[in-house]
Structures are given as structure tokens and as C-alpha cells.
Amino acid sequence: MLKKELGLLLLILAVGAITGAINPQFLSQVNLMNLANQIGLFGLISIGVGLVIITGGIELSVGSMFALLGIVFLDLLINHEIAWPIALGLTVLGGTALGTVHGLLVTKLKMQPFVVTLCGLLLYRGIARWYTADSTQGFGYGGGYETLEWLMSGRTYGVPHTFMFLVLVAVLMGVVLHRSVYGRYLFAVGKNEEAARYSGIPTKAVITAAYMIAGTLAGLSSVFFVFYTQSVSPSAHGNFYELYAIAAAVLGGCSLRGGEGSIVGIVLGTVLLQVLQNLVNMLGIPSSLNFAVMGAVILLGVLADQQLQRRRQLKLARAGAEARSLARAESAGAAA
């Protein structure tokens, strides 16, 4: 089980070592802490999207959620001068609500997750642009939310809070996914929804909850991102971020067919993606090649993983044959 994650970790260390050897700046504290900040920002949403992928679904709307919820947050905080804890709470709950709607559309109305969340992607972006008349929203000269700003974009002992928060959420979700009853149900539903239903698992509730968690994490992330970018331009904010999240989850071992994945894997997938982005800058590769590098690495990574899987399947088949021959030998013994 852990082999996959270990392989990913080794790959990250190898890529890091090579980059560090070519450009020692890569390993400087400033760069590493910036990297940690990026990992924190993107890791949160990757975990949410990863959960949805484990159910066998997909969540495409998080980038647009960042734009819409970012706008909502700024509007509440700056234009309506609402106290920051309430603005924060409402934004996070907004994410929860959107995720819940996605989950209910998928489970109760039996719509395909791809369609539901693709429509979300279009809808939320469109609403965000219409509401702001396509103009960039910022903090302006507002005040009274310094605590929140420190929480969301500050550092403690040089470590970005975004990264700390990711570690916190990852530990929590790791326990939920790998130790709790809900986590077990999530894997069961992803592997074989029908068998799960026949075992009395409330499959619809389990799936809806996954979208709900993803929405909640997206709501939280959108506040982190607002403080990171300091402004929200509704047509560009968060563009493609859903794909970063999906890529991280897939690199980390989530199967798009559902039923497979781990929190450690998803976090390591995020780390690898961000290291790659950083490497493009560090090695002086034209930044226009950014996406191409990512695409190539994901392609090769998944290819390599598939080869390993095939070897595992072969081993399994062999074990199966042995188990059956054991059973035969035993029943022959019983017969004799």
C-alpha cells in the first residue's frame, strides 16, 4: 500500500536534489518557504478533490468557486463591513453549500459528476464576472481584519500558516479516510457502490458527504487565496486550479475509477507539482513551458505507476492460483 507513496517521495527527493545541485538557490530557506506556502494553498483543495475522486466522481468547479467565493468574501468584508469571523464563516459555509448541492445532484438526481461540476465551473465563473462587472476586487483601505490576515498569510518561525494548516487538515483527513468508519465506507462505495449498498452502507450520504467536504475545503481555500493574491479578478482568479487539484490527486495514487488513494499520496502529489513549477523558474526554463513540464511528468508518472500495477496484478494472480491449489489440496485431503 505504502510503496506508491514511497516511490513518489523518492521521486520528489531526486528531482529536488538535481534541481538543488544545478541551482543551490532552490534549497535556500526563502525558496523552500515559498514552496511550502504554495503547497499549503494547493494541498487543501487537492485533498477535497481527492476524496471526491475516491468515490469515483470528479470535482471540476473548484477554480470557479475560488473566484465566486473570493468575491463574496471581499464583498462581505470590505463593502458590507461585516466582522471577519462572520465573513469567513459565511464564505466557508458557502463552499459547503455548493458542495452539498453537487453531491445531491449526483446522488439523488443521479446526474453524472462530470456534468454537474462542469456546469458549476461555468456557472460560478459567470456569476462572479457578472456580479463584479468583470472588475477586479481588492481590499482597498479597509481594516479590522489584521488577525485574519495574519492567520491566513502570516508565518510562524518562518513557516507559512498555509502549510501548517495543510498539515493539520491532512492529519485530520488522514484519520478520517484511513481509520474511520466513514473512510472505510468511502473506499467501499468507490470500489463497488452496489455491493456497498447491499451491505447496508448509506451510499448516497457517503458520496454527498465527500462533495460536501470538498466544497468546505474549497470555501476555506478561497479565503487563503484571496489573502495570497490580495485581489480577485473574476475572469482569471483560480483558472485551471481544479486541474492542479485533480493532477495532484491522480499523481498521488487516486484512481479516476474510484476506490483508491491516500491522503499522504495526495499531499505528495501536490508537493511534486509545486516542486515542478518551482523548478521551471529555478532552472531558467521559459515559464511558458510550465504546463508542458507538468503534463509530461504526470504522463510519465502515471505510465510508470501502471507498469508497477501490472506487476502487482500478476503477483496477485499467482497468489490466487496458489490459494486455490491449497484449497484443492485440503479438500482432496479431506476426501481421502
Partner: protein, 508 residues
């Protein structure tokens, strides 16, 4: 004696650590029906894969028309006229019958455009379907056909390739009795036309009905041949398992007790105009017979909350139950062992332990966190008591044989407190030895006061295992039989709805 078309000589196949076949020889004459029997894992499938060119033998030779080959490719096998009718049908449901028959060999037209000549295609398929006497047309979509009809499509496909030997692997496992008879008739016609058939089945009655010769495999060895006159049930079973199987009926320790599950006037969406009433008493095994599609599985699903009942009442020990979901049923101790265990019963890629504890995970999860140690103990206890043959409970369910997989599905419920267990086709695709273990388990459960409802299309099983039989016909219960009245004839008469029709005539 007619010419030998095909001969396997001293075929041995070894996989790392396993000898699947050990010096097996088998000859097939023109126009001969060879029954190939053996328990699961006896090597039948491997032997057939070698014939089809999918697997190469480790040693031995395959002689076709007198020419020996060390191994065959799939292409050579097809050229030699060897065709398969698979257990799991390999058809494209989204295409029509004709397209399926000639898939990969479509007549072309339109020159470089390379279009499919649909008119020619249908013209070619029509006579094949006529020859088989089927009731569907070349243009019908396969998804609208029954399993029996799909099988005929496969046979038409084999005929279209000028097959000389057709290998049928468990062809009747999903067929009704009439469909089975139809298939046996088609086999007789094929035989008369000089086509040979290798017939693999666990249903010995059918083998007896159609085979000219029976070849028995056990543990990868060829353990016996039975000539036409020697083909008898007891002889076949003896060779297959190497011992005589006792009569399968195990009488209950005590009679049925009070209480149990009473179904009254249950209506399901599948048969909205029919009302089903029946009572399964604690301590008895009620067999539920009937043709496929007679509403037995729908009844089981309604009982278990998979498909909601439109109206009617279900009561446990006289107390009415509201069952709207499997959770409701499970809470009341009503459990279902589903028909298709791979699809609905198991998480194949997950360990045995996780499969066993799935329905009752909270028990090994204090504070909602799964205690894997406790989970392992519960699973291990079940593995021992049910004699599940696996290296450990950490083994994935996919690696187990059918019988052991079924035991895992059963283990899931046995660690809880069952009041009623519905077994839907409990031994389909399971070998003889594991079958009798499952029957013993069912009887033990009944003796412990559990009500057992056993849906089965296997006549031997219905008659051999049940204490009482309810027969369904087109969505309703057409009659009940007590043990003294058990016979294939009586069950069948009710299953095709005869008794009811006579009753109606009497009323008129």
C-alpha cells in the same frame, strides 16, 4: 467410428507453483458431444484455453486433422474451426445481432470508404438464425435480448465461422428450464449436422441428456471416461469428487418454529398487478422456485429494501416492519446473499477481513475509528468457523474460488444476528464440495431458529435442500409444495403456471 477431428495428447500445463493440467488427453470425433465435467479448479478452463490458443501448454501436443501442433495461436484455433460460447457472454450489447455475428469480419462496400455493407450482412446472418430456429431478427439490438437469445447469437457466430467444434462453458447457468431444453435441442441439431460440441457444465442432468461421452477431470488429471451407457449421476459425481456424495437433504433437528417472516400482499414495480404472500417460518428452509424473470429476485430485493415495495406488508414474528432501504432490513436482522456475488456481494479488490466486517463495521469501531486488530479477530473467527480457504484474512477476495467467495459474503452476515437470510442462487458456479458445505451451513442456521428463503433455479438444489417449496410464476406465488409432494414435475408444473390455469378453469 467417425474420424477424430481434434485430439489433445498428454497436455501438461504448469504455472509457477501450480500444476493446472497433468498429462490430460482428450479426443473429439466428428458430430460427437463430449461432456467435460469436474469441480471448479479441476482444470477445465485451462484445457479449453489451450484449445482456443489463449494459453500454450507446457508439454504435450494438439493434433488437428492428423497434424500435431505444440501450441496454437488464437488464429490457428479459429481456422481449425474451434469456437467458443462463453460462460460470460462476449457480445456488444449496443450493436445489433448481425453486427455481433460478423464482428471483425463485416462485408465491406464503398471502395476506399470501407463502409459496412449492412444489407449483405443481414442477408448472411438470416439463414444462420433460421437454422437455429430463433425468434429474433438480425436487426434486433442485443441489449433487448434475453440471456438465452444472446447465447443463440454466440452459437450463430460460431456457425458463421464454419465451426467444427463448439465449446460451451456452463451455457445453461442463467437459462430457464424451457430455454435449457431449447439449447439441448440445438445441440442435437448441431450434432446431426456433423458439428462436435464440448459441453462443460456443473449440471449433471443436462450432461447426461446431451453427451455421447463424458470426460472427468479432477485436480488437473484426467480421472475417467464414461461411455454413453455408463453416464449416470452417481458415477459422474463419484469420479468428480473421488467419493460418493451423500444425499444432499439434511433433515432439520426440530420442526419449524413459531414466528418468522410473513409477507402479505406485496406489490413490486416489476409486477404491479400481482400480490405476493408467503410465510417463512423460523427453523425452516423455504425453497423459492420458478423460472428466471418470475419475480423471485425482485421479491428478495423488496424484502431487503433494495427496490421499495409499492404496497403490502412485511412482518417479523407478527410485528409489522417498515423496510425502505437495506439499512432498515439489516437493522431488523433480514439479510440477503445476492445472486451476483461479484457485483453485489463483494468488494473484490479488498481484503477478506474488510469484506466480512463491512456490514457491521461499527462493532469493531469504537468512537467511529476502525480497530483493525479487532476487525482481524472477528474476520479470523469467521474464516475458521466457515472454513474459508485462504492464506489469511488479509488476502483480497478476488483471489478466492467461487465457493470461498460465497462463504465470505455469508460471513458478513453471520457475525450479526440473523432472523431471516435470503439466499439468491446460493451455489451458482460453485463446485460440488463447497456446495454441500453451504447446504450444511444453511441447515445449521435454520436449526438455530433462522428463517431461510432460498431462491434457486437448480432443480436438484430446490428439491434436495428445501423443507418446503414455494413456486413463483409471472410475479405471483403459484403454489406451495410440502416434502412428500416434491418432484421435478410438480415444481415445473407450478413454474409454468399450469396449476393456476386449471384452478381458473375449475372456477369458470
Amino acid at each position: 467410428m467417425s474420424e477424430i477431428l481434434l485430439e489433445l495428447r498428454a497436455i501438461t500445463k504448469t504455472y509457477p507453483g501450480v500444476t493446472a493440467l497433468n498429462g490430460v488427453s482428450l479426443g473429439v470425433r466428428k458430430g460427437e458431444v463430449v461432456g467435460l465435467i469436474g469441480e471448479n479448479g479441476a482444470g477445465k478452463s485451462t484445457l479449453m484455453k489451450i484449445l482456443g490458443g489463449v494459453v500454450s501448454p507446457t508439454s504435450g501436443s494438439i493434433v488437428i486433422d492428423g497434424v500435431p501442433h505444440a501450441a496454437m495461436s488464437v488464429r490457428q484455433a479459429a481456422q481449425a474451426g474451434i469456437a467458443f460460447v462463453h460462460q460470460e457472454l462476449n457480445l456488444f450489447e449496443n450493436l445489433d445481432v448481425a453486427a455481433n455475428v460478423y464482428i471483425g469480419r463485416e462485408p465491406r462496400t464503398g471502395g476506399f470508404l470501407n463502409l459496412v455493407d449492412n444489407a449483405a450482412l443481414h442477408r448472411q446472418v438470416k439463414p444462420l438464425l433460421q437454422r437455429l430456429g430463433v425468434d429474433f431478427a438480425p436487426g434486433d439490438l442485443v441489449e433487448n435480448l434475453s440471456i438465452a437469445q444472446r447465447q443463440m447469437v454466440e452459437i450463430a457466430k460460431a456457425l458463421s465461422m464454419d465451426a467444427r467444434v463448439i465449446i460451451m462453458d456452463e451455457p445453461t447457468s442463467s437459462l430457464t428450464l424451457t430455454e435449457t431444453d431449447k439449447l439441448l435441442q440445438v445441440i442435437a441439431d448441431l450434432k446431426a449436422a456433423g458439428v462436435s460440441v464440448i459441453y462443460i457444465s456443473h449440471r449433471l442432468g443436462e450432461v447426461k441428456a446431451c453427451a455421447d461421452r463424458v470426460v472427468v477431470l479432477r485436480d488437473g488429471r484426467h480421472v475417467g471416461d464414461l461411455a454413453k451407457g455408463e453416464i449416470a449421476h452417481a458415477a459422474m459425481v463419484r469420479l468428480m469428487i473421488g467419493r460418493d456424495l451423500k444425499s444432499i437433504y439434511i433433515p432439520p433437528k426440530a420442526g419449524p418454529r413459531e414466528g418468522g417472516v410473513a409477507i402479505e400482499g406485496l406489490v413490486t414495480a416489476a409486477f404491479p398487478e400481482q400480490r405476493v404472500s408467503l410465510h417463512v417460518r423460523r427453523g425452516e428452509i423455504l425453497g423459492l422456485a420458478g423460472l428466471i424473470g418470475s419475480g423471485r429476485t425482485t421479491l428478495a430485493q423488496a424484502l431487503f429494501g433494495i427496490v421499495p415495495a409499492l404496497s403490502g406488508r412485511i412482518a417479523l414474528d407478527g410485528r409489522p416492519l417498515a423496510i425502505r432501504s437495506p439499512q432498515d432490513a439489516i437493522r431488523e436482522g433480514l439479510y440477503l446473499i445476492p445472486e451476483d456475488r461479484k457485483r453485489s456481494g463483494l468488494l473484490l479488490d479488498m481484503p477478506i477481513a474488510q469484506n466480512i466486517t463491512l456490514a457491521d463495521l461499527r462493532r469493531c469501531a469504537p468512537a467511529m475509528l476502525v480497530d483493525t486488530g479487532r476487525e482481524g479477530e472477528i474476520a479470523e473467527a469467521q474464516r475458521r468457523s466457515l472454513n474459508i480457504k485462504a492464506p489469511s484474512v488479509a488476502t483480497d477476495a478476488v483471489t478466492l474460488s467461487g465457493g470461498n467467495q460465497q462463504k465470505v459474503v455469508l460471513a458478513k452476515w453471520l457475525s450479526m444476528r440473523p432472523k431471516l437470510i435470503v439466499f439468491d442462487e446460493p451455489t451458482r458456479g460453485i463446485d460440488v464440495g463447497a456446495k454441500s458445505e453451504i447446504y450444511t451451513l444453511m441447515r445449521d442456521l435454520a436449526d438455530n431458529g433462522v428463517a431461510i428463503l432460498m431462491i434457486s433455479s437448480d432443480m436438484e438444489e430446490v428439491i434436495g435442500v428445501s423443507d418446503r417449496i414455494a413456486v413463483m410464476h409471472e410475479g405471483r406465488v403459484s403454489g406451495f409444495l410440502e416434502r412428500p409432494d416434491f418432484s421435478e414435475h410438480n415444481v415445473l408444473t407450478l413454474a409454468v403456471g399450469h396449476a393456476a390455469r386449471e384452478e381458473a378453469a375449475a372456477h369458470a
